[in-house]
Amino acid sequence: MAKQIVQITVNGEPTDVLVEPRDSLLETLRENLEMTGTKEGCNNGNCGACSVMFDGRLVNSCLVLAVEADGKEVTTVEGLATSEGLHPVQQAFLDKAAFQCGVCTPGFLIATKALLEKHPNPSEHDVRYYLSGNLCRCTGYHKILEAVNAAAESMREGA
């Protein structure tokens, strides 16, 4: 099938991009748009490294086709910080040393933001359950939990 132009609003910016039906949103972000902040860890929906917000919902971008994103809004890790500074989730991960290699971090940041927007004051189990689709091999998740709690507190104060 011929390539087609789809319009995806990426981090608020409507963007036209030429894709094949078999291109995933992840490939399109990384290879076509060169927005490489979103990572490929397994390309099968098992690790969460490619997490993005898709029309307000947390998804694995490796399991969305770019053609499905036509007319949709996508938020990636590159869209979290503003000219005002880091998003509270980013600041908390930085302050709490919640990453080592950092390759799972973009996915965790997006998933954490999604969690905290839904559950501003999550229990430890809520956090672990909601983030269980994001694998981290470096940290043992301890400092990630601390960062999520710190981000939750900061977002509650800011609300």
Partner: protein
């Protein structure tokens, strides 16, 4: 220095210099590179565990749309046998080349057979399907016991065992036998009141880094090659690329991209030479990365192992003798971590009579490679479970038994060398005094049985060559360029050291990793060596800057350098000859070009004196005796960390080690079918711990400084993965009375033993 000292910046939790880029998605990892005209490379892999390649026809694939290059092993230069140090392991480069692409035979499921480069990833994948390969399947060898038997097919009919005088000259899958021996084993066991002898098996497992292997290569018209990839040591990658592609090392430049986890697995090349060859063929940049299935099938996992372990002690708990035989699955080519396994198996114990035999065995699994304290967790699973049994026989607590037998400074290590100042006793005492050890385990109820387990572990730690450059900028900031790949906070640790020496703040330092053309040679971030060696280089480099700053201040004040006092606590620079005169580092920096030119320094070291590391872990588990499922309720890791240069990332290492160790203990394994095919090559079925599988983790950093380092640094990254297997196994025993001798100690294994034991009055699954 030996005593613990208070530092101003060292030991503080400064923000990591690379942190901002990593939380904003700006950090560039290996496959984040996009170059103009770039091609995408893909690899065709063997569907068989063991087969002869009868024919290989690339002609159709070469004609496929978008395809610009195809290659097979015939495109790699034929290279001679030569041993190459890979940081945590040694490999024969000829084997490496044959592992990168199969010649004649495929030796494991996933072994690379051919590659293509095309204008898109999809077109490259389609071209793979047009490659015609005819295989003659051969009987696979998957079981280590079978591999050693006379009936087993030989992976390489020309390979004979290298032995200790026991060579029979016949071809064998046993590549090597060695022996470490001290004292009189028979006498030692004769003196024992209790002797426990057991046999253990560890399944093959993977490091499980989240970022897949990747490589991008660009060949320049004059023959130079630039490679961008994520690795634990770009200088090692440069050497391997040069050797495998037969290029002068100076023609190869390797640019270190951010690395998304390595754990030992990213210290050797898989894709890099293929990208180089296909770039040579096309004069275009070629980018390659593995998918997750390829990572699991075809990169170097931790070897499976069979270990026989026998230990004896007196009634009072004093160990009298220990013996072990370690049979490690090297994979398709020789070179497992059996040497390190043999060197660490009795590491924490003072022993006069011991013997360890190591065997390196080839079979049809991927060539094994380093994984965090290579070989040591396999080995410790055996010795630390046997010790648990002995402690129980003696009526001693597991910690008291270990204290009674703990090695200390001046004792001879089980594999020979005399130990320098070490902190095992302090670490055992810290574990004993921990809140965890002093809190009673909540009682078991009904089908939920609780237990506590303890284990210790030893790792050598490493040192080696490293280089650091510091450039002073006109605003008083410093550019720090180091050669160590940074997997988990190395730049932050070095910045703490530089700031400490110069009396400035870590935020004044712009830290980066230099490529192979920019900074001096630095060996891999592996063997728990990076902070030790690069820390030494950073210390010396910053000290030189400090000396230069003093000279410049003297020039500004027109006085002798001896009159200049540089206080590294406050950063104040004063003049003994004139108390009114004061300068700061920044003020001197601003005047650099008027006082003698740029202030820079470069230091390369070849560090020695790595201080050995010991860890002691305590874990509480809960076993569901109806399902065999084990949940980890509480976990404490105590470890001698020397000096915690950056506590966040030291704790991070301990926590990560626990997590990997728990995964290894309970669920991770390579699951092969009878044809030798790996059935669970995905992160769905290769089960690494999720966030729900671990509790909060408690870490105790015991600081017994390494006397051979200016900041007392000991490596911390590896010993933390040594105790968990045995700690979890001992806890399961404490909970259920059942000892498991194989990892993973997964639900079907434990349930099967529970059903045999009659532990639970269970409804029978009768037909």
């Amino acid at each position: 220095m030996a005593e613990k000292k208070q530092w101003r910046v060292v030991g503080t939790r400064s923000l990591r210099p690379d942190g901002m880029d990593k939380v904003t998605g700006q950090a560039k990892y290996g496959s984040d590179i996009n170059l103009p005209g770039m091609l995408y490379g893909r690899v065709l892999r063997s569907p068989h565990a063991h087969a002869r390649i009868v024919s290989l026809d690339m002609s159709e694939a070469a004609k496929m749309p978008g395809v610009r290059a195809v290659m097979t092993a015939a495109d790699l230069p034929d290279i001679a046998s030569k041993l190459q140090e890979l940081g945590e392991s040694v490999a024969d480069l000829r084997d490496e080349s044959h592992n990168i692409m199969a010649t004649g035979k495929v030796l494991y499921h996933g072994h690379a057979v051919a590659a293509v480069a095309a204008t898109s990833l999809h077109l490259a994948e389609e071209a793979l399907k047009a490659i015609k390969v005819e295989y003659e399947p051969l009987e696979p060898v998957i079981d280590v016991r079978y591999a050693m038997s006379d009936d087993a097919p030989l992976l390489d009919p020309a390979r004979k065992m290298r032995g200790i005088g026991d060579e029979d000259g016949k071809p064998s899958n046993i590549a090597q036998h060695f022996q470490n021996k001290r004292g009189d084993l028979d006498k030692g066991f004769a003196e024992a009141d209790y002797v426990v002898e057991r046999e253990f098996y560890n399944a093959t497992i993977h490091q499980g880094y989240i970022e897949p292997h990747n490589a991008t290569a660009q060949v320049h018209p004059d023959g130079r090659v630039t490679v961008w990839c994520s690795s634990q040591g770009h200088f090692g990658i440069r050497e391997e690329v040069a050797e495998v592609c037969k290029l002068p090392v100076g023609m190869v430049k390797v640019v270190p991209m951010e690395i998304g986890g390595g754990f030992g697995g990213k210290t050797k090349v898989y894709l890099e030479p293929l990208a180089v060859i296909m770039s040579q063929k096309t004069a275009r940049p070629v980018k390659m990365w593995m998918n997750r299935t390829e990572v699991l099938l075809a990169t170097g996992p931790n070897p499976g192992s069979l270990i026989k372990c026998k230990m004896g002690c007196k009634k009072d708990g004093t160990l009298t003798a220990a013996a072990a035989e370690l049979y490690f699955e090297a994979g398709a080519f020789p070179g497992s971590a059996v040497g390190a396994g043999a060197g660490t198996i009795f590491g924490p114990f003072k022993l006069e009579n011991m013997q360890v035999d190591g065997y390196d065995i080839v079979l049809n699994k991927p060539k094994s490679h380093a994984y965090r304290a290579p070989g040591a967790p396999n080995a410790a699973f055996a010795s630390e479970c046997v010790v648990d049994e002995l402690a129980e026989l003696c009526g001693l607590s597991p910690l008291d038994f270990r204290l009674k037998n703990a090695v200390k400074e001046g004792d001879r290590r089980a594999d020979g060398p005399v130990l320098p100042r070490i902190g095992l006793i302090e670490t055992l005492e810290a574990a004993k005094n921990s809140p965890h050890n002093n809190t009673k385990l909540a009682p078991s109820s009904g089908i939920k049985r609780r237990g506590r387990g303890v284990a210790s572990g030893f790792w050598f730690n490493g040192a080696g060559p490293a280089s650091v450059i510091l450039n002073v900028n006109a605003d008083g900031s410093l550019t720090q360029i180091s050669g160590s790949a940074d997997i988990g906070g190395n730049r932050a640790s070095l910045a703490n050291i530089v700031a400490e020496v110069l009396g400035i703040e870590p935020t004044d330092i712009r830290a980066q990793i230099g490529d192979t053309d920019t900074v001096g040679y630095t060996s891999v971030t592996g063997g728990s060596s990076a902070t030790h060696k690069s820390g030494l280089a950073a210390h010396e480099c910053a000290t030189k800057i400090k000396e230069e700053i003093i000279k410049r201040a003297a020039r500004i004040w027109e006085t002798d350098a001896e009159n200049v006092v540089y206080d590294d606590q406050s950063g104040a620079i004063t003049n003994k000859a004139d108390a009114e005169k004061k300068l700061t580092f920044k003020e001197v920096a601003r005047q650099a070009n008027r006082t003698g030119g740029p202030i820079t320094s470069e230091v390369s070291v070849n560090s020695g004196g790595a201080g050995p590391a010991f860890a002691v872990h305590i874990v509480d588990v809960e076993v569901d005796i109806e399902t065999g499922k084990v949940d980890v309720l509480r976990y404490t890791a105590a470890q001698d960390v020397g000096t915690a240069i950056h506590p966040d990332y030291v704790e991070g290492q301990l926590e990560g080690g626990i997590s990997q160790g728990v995964g290894w203990a309970l669920n991770e394994e390579y699951f092969y079918n009878k044809d030798g095919l790996l059935m669970n090559a995905s992160l769905l079925d290769y089960r690494m711990p999720t966030m729900l599988d671990l509790p909060k983790l408690e870490t105790i950093m015991v600081e017994v400084p390494n006397p051979a380092h200016p900041y007392g640094i000991r490596g911390v990254g590896e010993v933390c993965v040594v105790p968990p297997l045995a700690a979890v196994g001992n806890a399961i025993y404490n909970a259920t009375g059942i000892r498991l001798y194989n990892t993973p100690m997964n639900p079907p294994s434990l349930l099967s033993e529970i059903m045999k034991s009659g532990l639970a009055e269970l409804p029978e699954a009768s037909d």
